[in-house]
Symmetry: C2
Subunit: 423 residues, 2 copies
């Protein structure tokens, strides 16, 4: 059954208005009620698995008919494992501490008033994402726990799956007495709906796009609403003169090969000239065993045989593939300079045993995650202990790095007086 929507603009306006009303109710909801809703949804996903998979098959068939690449079709599939994992994710989010309403730093001032801050929801969050239907559950759950209403706009190729998942979510909300409008899935695949969503500045407080660069750029350009975004993942590892070489090899190997398609995968390896001839041949052997294509600066080419010359374009490239660019640098200053010029301000790591250089690296590298002697692959909400993440922000305002529950909240000031007035 396909919903026909004649006037997308009016439909989106109405969606925004309903979200605003629901957000107000949700912002006051007790912790236990929100957790109960999350567990209810988790159980419903398992109970209605057959239905979810039947709806998902419609998307899979359409995707194959449209000739979608097998990797993309695979990302769309809701197999048993993925449904179980969505359900487990909800249990995890329910077990996290509720950030909302927490009061902090309530200090007395010379005037006699007591001032501090309370953590509050942002309000209504619009999430625009591509393909993977599990995002529907993850995003809705994180927003729900943090007291925010959501408007979800998934990829058109997952519309049947997303609708079926949304039905579970809304049934779970209603079961505990929360408005089903706390989580709304846009019912049309019309592209104009995205444009209309980005204009709803009175009813939507923040937009979070998740997907390819084209999507992020379109959203940033068109949105009248503040955007929390993750643009690129051009991550670096710098192997310093004073690196422990065993740690260097381990970290540089893991940062590239543990997974290729993730945003926290290393794309460029920087290495100090004093250790390059010792470390690079060993690393090159390991990379080649894994089939990683190496593209090097002239000095790298002298050290490693059959290394492709890197062009200037390589330093600004997010490969998301078994390709690595390598540059030999004079030392820490050049490494920091290169990173601050070419990094996407996502995650950058130094391998060194030198205290002062480690200290300088973490202060001077302007990225959302800076690391010492650790794999860039750790840059992740679960690994950081946030419990879950809605994405990794490469913005500077509001939320930087992995965005968990706290990134979906704000702080307001609270003042307690006892009839105090200003003199």
């Amino acid at each position: 059954m396909k919903t026909t929507i004649d006037n997308v603009h009016d439909y989106m306006q109405a969606t925004g208005a309903k979200a605003r009303v629901a957000a107000y109710i949700l912002s006051r909801a007790e912790t236990a009620l929100k957790d109960k809703a999350l567990l209810c949804i988790a159980d419903l996903l398992i109970e209605t698995k057959d239905h979810l998979q039947a709806e998902n098959r419609k998307d899979l068939i359409a995707a194959k008919e449209k000739g979608l690449a097998p990797a993309l079709v695979d990302r769309l599939a809701l197999n048993d494992e993925r449904i179980n994992s969505m359900s487990e994710g909800l249990y995890q989010i329910a077990s996290l501490a509720d950030p909302i309403g927490a009061l902090s730093d309530m200090n007395y001032r010379p005037s006699g008033i007591q001032v501090g801050r309370m953590r509050v929801p942002l309000g209504v969050i619009g999430i625009i994402y591509e393909s993977r239907p599990n995002v529907t559950v993850d995003a809705a759950a994180l927003c729900l726990k943090s007291g925010n209403a959501t408007i979800l706009r998934g990829g058109s190729e997952a519309i049947h799956s997303n609708r079926a998942i949304a039905a579970c979510i809304q049934e779970g909300l209603l079961a505990v007495g929360l408005p089903s409008d706390c989580v709304q899935v846009i019912e049309t695949t019309d592209r104009a709906a995205v444009g209309a969503l980005l204009q709803l500045k009175d009813s939507v407080d923040v937009i979070i796009p998740r997907g390819g660069k084209g999507l992020i750029e379109r959203v940033t350009k068109e949105s009248l609403i503040p955007v929390i975004k993750h643009l690129d993942g051009i991550c670096h590892v710098y192997i310093d003169d004073d690196a422990d070489l065993e740690k260097a090899v381990r970290v540089a190997y893991n940062s590239k090969t543990q997974r290729y398609g993730t945003c926290n995968t290393m794309e460029t390896l920087l290495i100090s000239e004093t250790v390059a001839s010792t470390v690079l041949p060993r690393l090159a052997d390991q990379y080649k065993t894994e089939g990683v294509e190496l593209r090097g600066c002239p000095q790298t080419q002298k050290i490693i045989s059959d290394c492709i010359p890197a062009t200037d374009k390589d330093w600004g490239e997010e490969y998301l593939a078994a390709i690595l660019s390598i540059k030999v640098v004079k030392g820490l200053d050049e490494a920091i300079g290169h990173i601050n010029q070419f990094s996407s301000q996502h995650t950058d790591s130094i391998v060194t045993q030198d205290y002062s250089k480690a200290r300088r690296f973490i202060r001077e590298v302007d990225s959302s995650s800076v690391m010492v002697n650790a794999s860039t692959r750790f840059s992740d909400g679960f690994e950081y202990g946030l419990g879950a993440e809605i994405g990794i922000s490469t913005d500077k305002l509001h939320a930087r790095g992995p965005v968990g529950l706290e990134g979906l909240t704000s702080l307001k000031y609270v003042v307690f007086g006892d009839g105090h007035i200003r003199q």
Copy 2:
């Protein structure tokens, strides 16, 4: 001497590029160096007072010739008292703790890595403001202490004063060895410079407009850069059934009359019907003594003689004047409903002795400052202990309420490992 700038767009591009370079140096500057620069500037303002006042006179003469309202001309004047106060402000900011580089919450994770966050500058901040030349010093000093480079665009009517102040600031920066580009004042009064500034998304990280509603709206609409803004100050006091009536009268009187033209002045008084006939006559007498014009709902009009009828427009009006709108409500629910509908989400206060109602008010009122038994006039960076403020944000993302040093910073993740890799 008037600087002629042929190509405003190129000029602004160059200004942005210079700011970016300076910001990088400033982000690494030691606390003592930044403080020394602040004190140096403070002393230079006093030493060059005669020159500042001579330049200021040019602005004052031009303003009078242009027929500017006397109140506006007065705001422009740099008398001895104002110069002293600018200088003292710098001493105060120098004495505040440096937020930059502070590490917090460094916890060990099950993987063995240690994860926490470091406070870092935002980078380059563009500040667009009207008339008062003291903003030039305040804004530059807060940004300097928090490690941010600034591009300042003041009102054209204060151009000579602003240039003279900027010269002091730059001399102070150079005296301690910091780049003078850490603080740049736009050298042209061409309005196109504002438009060009708002496009510099690669070299400016955030825009802070300070001024009237027209300016804020223009900036929000045109900017490609995130904006921290303060739109309106429609503040409320709600006198509850369970209010201590002495406190109620004191808080309601102070919130309106302590100053009329500030954004944290109460514009609408809400009062529960059970206490209206007791409290309103007493308050009305006090307001009338001060010459405050009262505009009331029908019930208010029955209680107070010679009260002007309030129209629907009054509830959404920021008077910034000796005018107060008054509404009698049924109780807490109607008060919260009215506030969340009409408040500008700035500052709202309840007067009550009831524990549960105070608790509900602070949780459910969605404003940047919520108060219990305190005057709305306390909503201010100095009163809250921030030391100084660059403005009060009515936004929800990033900074809410008075924005001090912390609001001009961000947090990045720091990870310490010892050769740790992801499994």
